[in-house]
């Protein structure tokens, strides 16, 4: 069981959440001007890091918030959690 700290509800089992995936993929802000490469990158391509991964989980049986999670994909250790607007990687590196 991975224990994830929902920024609102606190520390909970990961089975309360739905895994969404890579949180670094940003939808083109101006869809009409984004080119095919940008769409391809957004929808299909992943960094898939071995190590620190910034990802979304939705607290589906809790408050239904989307939670940003910084997690190590090798150890499954949750390093940091926050709101979708947070840049966890930046603050994690800064704290290190």
């Amino acid at each position: 069981m991975i224990r994830i700290k929902c920024p609102y509800c606190g520390l909970r089992d990961h089975s309360e959440f739905n895994y969404i995936g890579d949180a670094t993929k940003l939808r083109p802000v101006n869809p009409e001007v984004a080119n095919d490469d940008e769409w391809f990158d957004y929808i299909y391509v992943r960094d898939n890091p071995r190590g620190v991964h910034q990802e979304y989980w939705q607290h589906i049986t809790g408050c239904r918030s989307y939670v940003k999670v910084l997690r190590n994909t090798v150890t499954h250790e949750v390093l940091k959690t926050g709101l979708p607007s947070d840049d966890l990687l930046f603050s994690y590196e800064a704290e290190k």
Binding site: H14, I43, Y44, R46, E55, H76
Partner: protein, 418 residues
């Protein structure tokens, strides 16, 4: 190199088994190879074997960071089948199945390919429709398939839950009799021995640390045992593909996820087929050693850890008991995880890459083990001819961009829905 046979066993038994030769050499890496395959799992070894055997290429190395067959080849639930619906998958996997049928002979190594039949259960009317479509497509592709109704399933496998207490009743099933299981490690070992006999250098404990490129070509493969020059390079590293590709600045339509597998204590024969559940993620067979080997869904989150967590284990076992209530008192003796390279449509990527002399063999999701000989066969063809075989043409890297996904179950570009 001596041939394996019952005679050689008897002969060696009289000599106290002192005369068995090494199954494969332990060579030092050469300065240069025509083809370097990275990853000595089943796929990499099969690729090297068929490159040497079918395409006359002699100067081949297979580099392995650990020991050969140490990745997913030796961590799966050993199911072999070709019961796919979409032509791109079906024809490829059928080629693979045909290779399986003669593999022990071809390799002179008993891979224990046991065609005991793979039965997919349907637990709803819509699933019956779906397996009907799949089975019909298989038949039109020349692949064996039979549709069983509830009564026929009960006759074949009476220990499934046919009682009124089943939450989701069994409606029928799709049976591929030619499907079955094989001894997973033996596949790696057999291909290793076969490739080695054809002169392929299998270099274990040799981790690739980087690449030197010139133009759009890889010139040197940097390894923990020194730089090695290369003509062509093939990736066959499953869950590590993304990690390796990142060393070339390449990003792929792949996420790595962990898939767990389980084995029970050894039992006398009780489950004679491979059976998969329709109302949940569960599949089971019994190994020749007697353990019930089973698995289910992936753990849902990106992972490079070869271990899973309990919620998924509970899900798998719960589905297992829904399908076969009599498993309840049997005991799990071991569970482990393998890293799946999940592609964005659930189908593999096998073909050319954006780099001229690099070839990709990845994105196998759950399909890797059964694909082993077929994957090696078409990958060897692709590398030798610098062009895909018609069997893997549709499984190219570009299909996502141009909108030609090969999405067997319609899950869309979300790896954990495949």
């Amino acid at each position: 190199m001596s041939k394996y046979s019952v005679l050689s066993l008897i002969k060696n038994a009289f000599n106290d088994n002192r005369n068995w030769e090494r199954a494969w050499r332990d060579p030092e890496p050469k300065k240069n190879y025509d083809v370097i395959i990275i990853g000595a799992g089943g796929h990499g070894l099969a690729s090297a074997f068929y490159l040497a055997k079918n395409h006359g290429i002699k100067n081949i190395a297979v580099l392995e960071k650990g020991y050969l067959g140490g990745g997913n080849t030796g961590r799966n639930t050993t199911i072999v089948r070709s019961n796919y619906m979409l032509d791109e998958n079906a024809l490829f996997y059928e080629k693979s199945l045909k290779l399986w049928e003669q593999l022990s002979h071809e390799l002179n190594f008993n891979v224990m390919f046991s065609q005991r039949g793979v039965l997919n259960l349907a637990n709803s009317d819509s699933q019956m429709d779906a397996i009907t479509r799949r089975g019909n497509t298989m038949r039109l592709n020349g692949i064996d398939a039979e549709l069983l109704d509830r009564r026929q399933v009960e006759k074949m496998i009476p220990y499934l839950d046919f009682s009124d207490t089943a939450r989701f009743q069994i409606k029928g099933g799709l049976l591929q009799r030619r499907g079955g299981t094989a001894r997973h490690d033996a596949v790696a070992w057999g291909f290793a021995r076969g490739a080695d006999q054809l002169g392929v250098d299998i270099i274990q404990n040799c981790e690739v640390t980087g690449f030197k490129t010139k133009g759009n070509n890889i010139e040197i493969v940097e390894t923990s045992r020194g730089p090695i020059g290369c003509g062509k390079v093939g990736f066959a590293v499953a869950g590590s593909t993304g990690h390796l590709a990142s060393k070339l600045g390449m990003k792929l339509p792949i996420e790595s996820h962990v898939l767990q597998a389980f084995v029970s204590e050894p039992l006398k024969p009780i489950i004679d087929h491979v059976v998969t559940f329709g109302a949940g993620h569960f599949y089971i067979s019994q190994s020749d050693k007697g353990g019930l080997v089973f698995g289910g869904d992936i753990d849902m989150y990106n992972s490079y850890a070869q271990k899973g967590n309990l919620p998924l284990i509970e899900d798998v076992v719960t589905a297992g008991l829904a399908m076969i209530p009599g498993l309840s008192r049997l005991r799990i003796v071991r569970h482990w995880g393998g890293i799946m390279d999940m592609s964005m449509d659930g189908s593999p990527i096998i073909g050319k890459s954006p780099i001229d002399n690099l070839y990709l063999n990845c994105g196998w999701c759950y399909g890797g083990f059964k694909a082993t000989p077929g994957s090696g066969w078409v990958f060897a063809h692709t590398i030798a001819n610098d062009a895909p075989h018609e069997l893997n043409a549709g499984l190219n890297f570009d299909r996502f961009r141009v909108g030609r996904s090969v999405d067997e179950n319609g899950g869309g570009p979300v790896p954990n829905r495949h």
